[in-house]
């Protein structure tokens, strides 16, 4: 126990007591992360290996199912369970990276707009407005279709859809912080802007940023799976939840499990992250409730 600092442990325990949903969320998120990281160990078959002798096999609890393919197989005889486990890698990589990049861009933009203000700040906020005016999925679709669908391009496109959320919140909070006495005091003491921002403003922004980040990861997972569903996700043969779902559409009546399980995977993951995000928000920053 000595490895965990006492205050952190106390905080976690308090979170658990106050918000059991957050604990459930943490467990779900932990399981999904484990699936993504340990996919080669957890998968029972190769996710892209086709086996035309076991096409459209049902899950093991249905007649004709077997434990060899616990969640059944798809129209090419690929193991649904193994593809789900590997699919977690894509969903998590894209969403975590995009939400992180979006945070970096958005926080810098928000700090400039809030702390510095001026013409540059005004321009930044107009770009935020512009970005918010687009139906994001349409913009993402158009850009992915034109740039080509790859992991890198998807991360870039998803970043475009998330940075302005941080920018708006960070600007608002920075505007308020700038006028607070303790910031005025260090400025009077002669501190440079860079020092004020990194030592006094940023630390106060970490909690809301973390909360937004969590909720944005959930949103990006939903959007990435929608793009993938429309055929503009990471290209085959890489298994993604969205494409699995789309591929199963043609076999809905005979092999519904191909579409049902990826949908459940997306929903449970997003639900888990939302539980966790809500719990974090209640714990870290009750004031943020109204803003996000």
């Amino acid at each position: 126990m000595a490895a965990i600092p006492a205050p952190l442990l106390a905080r976690a325990l308090r979170l658990g007591r106050r918000s059991p949903l957050a604990v459930i969320g943490a467990v779900i998120v932990g399981l999904v992360i484990m699936a993504a990281v340990a996919a080669p160990l957890l998968a029972t078959s190769d996710p892209i290996d086709q086996d035309l002798t076991v096409v459209l096999k049902p899950p093991f609890w249905l007649e004709d199912g077997s434990v060899q393919h616990p969640l059944g197989t798809d129209h090419l005889g690929r193991d649904v369970y193994s593809r789900l486990v590997y699919g977690a890698q894509i969903s998590l990589t894209i969403s975590v990276l995009a939400a992180l990049l979006g945070a970096v861009v958005g926080v810098v933009a928000g700090l400039v707009a809030g702390y510095h203000g001026g013409r540059l700040g005004a321009i930044i906020m107009r770009i935020v407005d512009l970005n918010l005016a687009f139906p994001l999925i349409l913009l993402a679709l158009a850009v992915v279709a034109l740039l080509g669908a790859s992991l890198k391009n998807l991360v870039i496109v998803m970043t475009i859809t998330t940075w302005m959320i941080y920018a708006r919140v960070v600007r608002g909070l920075t505007l308020a912080l700038r006028e607070r006495e303790f910031v005025q005091a260090v400025r009077a003491l002669g501190a440079h802007d860079a020092r004020i921002i990194t030592r006094h403003v940023l630390p106060n922004l970490l909690a809301p940023i973390l909360v937004i980040w969590t909720l944005e990861v959930a949103r990006v997972i939903l959007m990435e799976s929608a793009l993938s569903f429309l055929g503009l996700g990471v290209p085959p043969p890489t298994p993604t939840w969205g494409r699995m779902l789309a591929e199963g559409r043609d076999y809905l009546t005979v092999a519904g499990w191909i579409s049902i399980f990826p949908g459940i995977a997306i929903m449970v993951t997003v639900l888990g992250i939302n539980f966790l995000g809500d719990g974090l928000r209640d714990l870290l920053d009750p004031q943020l409730r109204r803003q996000t």
Binding site: I127, A133, A142, L230, S259, I260, V270
Partner: protein, 305 residues
């Protein structure tokens, strides 16, 4: 207040200009338009002639100016696939999309308001838990998956509703529910939060104190005030709803702008993509503008201040 409206209008114009720049840029993301438009194996002279004819050799700023002046006149170029002007093609599909999105918005509001009020008035009780559970699930479900599951259940298994296309009211049900679900979840939580705040206000206590029935307190005094933030959020979410329509129209082959745009994107029919991105984004800007002005009108503190 005049100054506020003027400033708000100026911002909207700026954003629409930005929208036009982004739409314009979409042409160049894909590389050379000549390569897309001309058949493969076109000769170098052929390409050069094409570029000169269509003005692709001019400086970018000149090209943008031309794009903008044409766009203002409703001319976004000819669809590469349909051989017709893009704007009428999109305009013809707009009513279908509006029918779907407006139905979805109304559905979301009609479900979310009572659910949110019930949750707020029964705070901490089983009804509250149920409402919040529904909201959390609704927020997390991928709408296209819900759409497919509804098709499987209500269309394929039970044969109650048509699987796809646009026709009578029965055709609207499943796509509208699929688009509404995420917004409904968001609004339920919003109504609950604002309602809890409003119920703690003095005027609510006064209403109860003077012996008003609880129904009167809720519907005449608390609810109207709790609904003001709802107006803003619904307006702000219009872009999101349109995005949902793009995906859901594809699932149900609903003949709207969303399906048409997806097909244009997949076919690299960029005059249509440009026109559609421009029109939809401008629509969102206009809706947001209207909502902001409506907000001023709804809230006497801003209207009279």
């Amino acid at each position: 207040m005049r100054a506020y409206i003027a400033a708000r209008l100026a911002t909207a114009v700026l954003v629409v200009l930005g929208v036009s720049i982004v739409s314009f840029c979409l042409t160049f993301l894909s590389g050379d338009p000549a390569e897309i438009m001309l058949p493969p194996g076109a000769t170098a002279e052929h390409i050069a002639k094409f570029r000169a004819e269509w003005g692709y050799d001019d400086p970018l700023l000149v090209q943008y100016g031309r794009f903008l002046s044409r766009a203002v006149q409703g001319d976004f170029g000819v669809s590469l696939r349909h051989g017709q002007s893009s704007l009428p093609l999109i305009a013809a599909r707009l009513p279908a999309t509006l029918q779907l999105t407006v139905t979805a918005m109304l559905l979301a509001i009609v479900l979310a308001v009572p659910l949110g009020v019930l949750a707020a008035t029964h705070r901490g009780g089983p009804l509250d838990l149920l409402a919040m559970g529904v909201a959390l699930l609704g927020q997390s479900v991928p709408n296209f998956w819900l759409a497919i599951m509804m098709i499987l259940l209500f269309a394929v298994s039970w044969g109650l509703l048509p699987t796809s296309g646009r026709g009578g009211p029965a055709h609207v049900v499943m796509p509208a529910v699929a688009i509404a679900i995420n917004l409904m979840a968001l609004l339920t939580r919003l109504v609950r939060t604002t309602m809890i705040e409003v119920l703690a206000e003095d005027y609510v206590r006064t209403g109860r104190g003077k012996g008003l029935r609880e129904v009167m307190v809720l519907t005449r005094h608390a609810l109207p005030n709790a609904l003001i933030p709802l107006v803003t959020v619904v307006g702000l979410q219009f872009g999101y709803i349109l995005g949902g329509a793009v995906v859901i129209e594809t699932v149900f082959t609903w003949p709207g702008v969303g399906l048409f745009t997806i097909q244009a994107i997949l076919n690299r029919d960029y005059p249509v993509v440009q026109a559609s991105v421009f029109i939809l984004a401008t629509g969102v800007v206009l809706i947001n503008l209207i909502v902001d002005l409506l907000y001023v009108w709804l809230d006497p503190r801003i209207r009279l201040g």
